[in-house]
């Protein structure tokens, strides 16, 4: 079986060092300790999900009417229903 590969391999997946800095710095700022082994796993997971998260952050979703008090047990109400 081939080694696992991320869909963004070969594309611009960002700077690995920058991502590691974000993980380590972020946890430190929040006051959460992490071992080197835990950090290695976090960085691997971040490498996997970061492109999807970045794409989500970058997408412009303005213009989508919000659904206040959304009820997941039924379909969305029309905006005028509030």
């Amino acid at each position: 079986m081939a080694a696992a590969r991320h869909p963004s391999d070969g594309a611009d997946g960002g700077d690995a060092g920058q991502a590691a800095g974000f993980v380590r710095g972020g946890l430190e700022l929040l006051g959460f300790e992490a071992s080197e082994a835990e950090l290695a796993v976090i960085e691997a997971v971040d490498g996997l999900y970061r492109p999807s998260v970045d794409a989500l952050i970058e997408v412009d979703l303005t213009g989508i009417e919000p659904e206040p008090n959304a009820d997941m047990s039924r379909g969305p109400r029309a905006p005028e229903e509030g």
Partner: protein, 450 residues
């Protein structure tokens, strides 16, 4: 043939007519767990005394005297849930009467054991648990699926004919698919969730894992607190979403699922239409982010630091990683949810069900839970939410139906999704599909249970 090999409804009927002695059925279930469970590690605890008490006090009902299992995600009066983990994040929960427990008790069912699960419910494979991984009865070196790994393995191994799981990002449907079972993820809010540790969830539901749709109808009805009427799908309008949901699947999976859709269309005299779904490129990440952040309110630095090495390295890392998810990503996930719900509402005006493979590839090895797809090899946990997450994100019901066995002897599953409240339609469609193939796949037994 032992009555344990019969369906849930056949067991219930045998007890109801006096053909079977429920005490003997319970004893047989306990004996079978003793015999087979070491191979699959599906059941993590039995409690014969409490089971016998449930039987003695059974009030009658649709599951009177029938043994069932329940995932380690629900408190019982004599046992707190452990979530497949060695430690809780924060104070340990207490035993109690969860909604599923009450529903089973009031239906006369006998809980014969607690079923294994992926640690903290945070995985689609079941390969990590404080109890050791549950194993797939079709190949015990393969993942049973998660996080309801034990319910899936227990039913497939014929330890019980029905089990209660929970589904937050596909956690009933993955084990159903990997283990060749039928698994229903109900419409959000229809099945009882009382007593669940994520009280404020907007994604998680309880639901049944059984051999076939009729058993899911029976056990699902118990969890819903209402009888789920059966009907015949007539002229079923099936929607297909072109793209990676179909194309980026293992070729055997894609072929079997396309064949099943065509069989369902023919059986119901229906139609198959290509439709598109707005926001679908963000559905997987949005469902993961929403699902994985709903329980963060219990996290503090001290609680995370207190987790010892008996909690898996991956869980300790993931718990920390969740704290770094940008708020803007979570906020946008909720906006994607709105977009997807609106798009689905529009689609379900044109088609009655959507269809695509439940999982993109059959059960991966426990040792390396990676799947090979046309676009490359990925951790199963990474690709599975792409197929299943939308139902949790939007609140709609979905069902996983066995539709084949691949060249390695592993089950293949089709997923059907319907509009809010149309759980019964999914069960009807699943039964129509079973009839169309002569129940070939729902009656197939893994070697371990043959």
């Amino acid at each position: 043939m032992s009555l344990l090999d019969a369906t849930l409804r056949e067991q219930a009927a045998a007890v109801a007519t006096g053909e079977a002695d429920p005490a003997e059925l319970l004893a047989a279930a306990l004996a079978r767990i003793e015999e087979r469970n070491p191979s699959v590690n599906a059941i993590v605890e039995t409690f014969p005394e409490q089971s016998r008490r449930m039987l003695a006090e059974a009030p009658g009902g649709p599951l009177n005297g029938v043994p069932v299992a329940i995932k380690d995600e629900w408190p019982l009066p004599w046992r707190a849930e452990r979530l497949g983990a060695a430690q809780h994040v924060g104070p340990p929960p207490k035993p109690g009467e969860s909604g599923p427990y009450r529903a089973l008790r009031d239906a006369g069912a006998v809980i014969v054991g607690v079923a294994n699960m992926h640690e903290y419910g945070a995985g689609s494979t079941g390969h990590i648990s404080a109890y050791g991984p549950a194993r797939n009865p079709w190949d015990t070196e393969r993942c049973p699926g998660g996080s309801s790994s034990g319910p899936g393995a227990a039913v497939a191994a014929r330890l019980v004919a029905g089990a209660v799981g929970a589904d937050g990002v596909g956690s009933i449907r993955y084990p159903a698919a990997y283990c060749g079972l039928t698994g229903l993820k109900p419409t959000f809010g229809r099945s009882t969730m009382y007593g669940h540790h994520v009280a404020e969830t907007t994604t998680i539901v309880s639901g049944p894992l059984c051999r076939d749709a009729a058993d899911c109808r029976l056990l699902g009805g118990v969890l819903f607190g209402e009888e789920l009427a059966a009907g015949e799908p007539d002229g079923l309008r099936i929607g297909i979403v072109p793209g990676e949901l179909w194309d980026d699947c293992d070729p055997e999976v894609e072929a079997a699922c396309r064949e099943a859709v065509e069989a369902l269309r023919e059986a119901s005299g229906g139609t198959v239409t290509a439709v598109d779904l707005q926001g679908r490129q963000h559905v997987a990440i949005a469902s993961v982010l929403v699902g994985q952040t709903e329980e963060l309110a219990d996290v503090t630095p001290e609680r995370i630091a207190a987790l010892g090495e008996d909690v898996s390295l991956i869980a300790r890392a993931l718990l920390r990683y969740r704290l770094l998810i940008p708020a803007v990503a979570i906020s946008k996930s909720l906006r994607v949810r709105t977009l997807v719900r609106r798009s689905l509402a529009e689609l379900f005006g044109r088609v009655e069900v959507l269809a695509w493979p439940t999982v993109a590839a059959p059960a991966p090895p426990l040792e390396n839970p990676t799947v090979e797809l046309p676009s490359g090899a990925y951790p199963a946990d990474y690709v599975n939410p792409r197929q299943a997450g939308i139902a949790n994100l939007a609140g709609i019901p979905a069902i996983s139906i066995p539709v084949g066995i691949n060249s390695e002897g592993l089950p293949i599953a089709l997923q059907l999704l319907a509009g809010w409240g149309h759980d019964e339609l999914l069960l009807d469609a699943a039964e129509a599909l079973e009839r169309s193939n002569g129940r070939r796949w729902v009656d197939a037994a893994p070697p371990l249970a043959a």
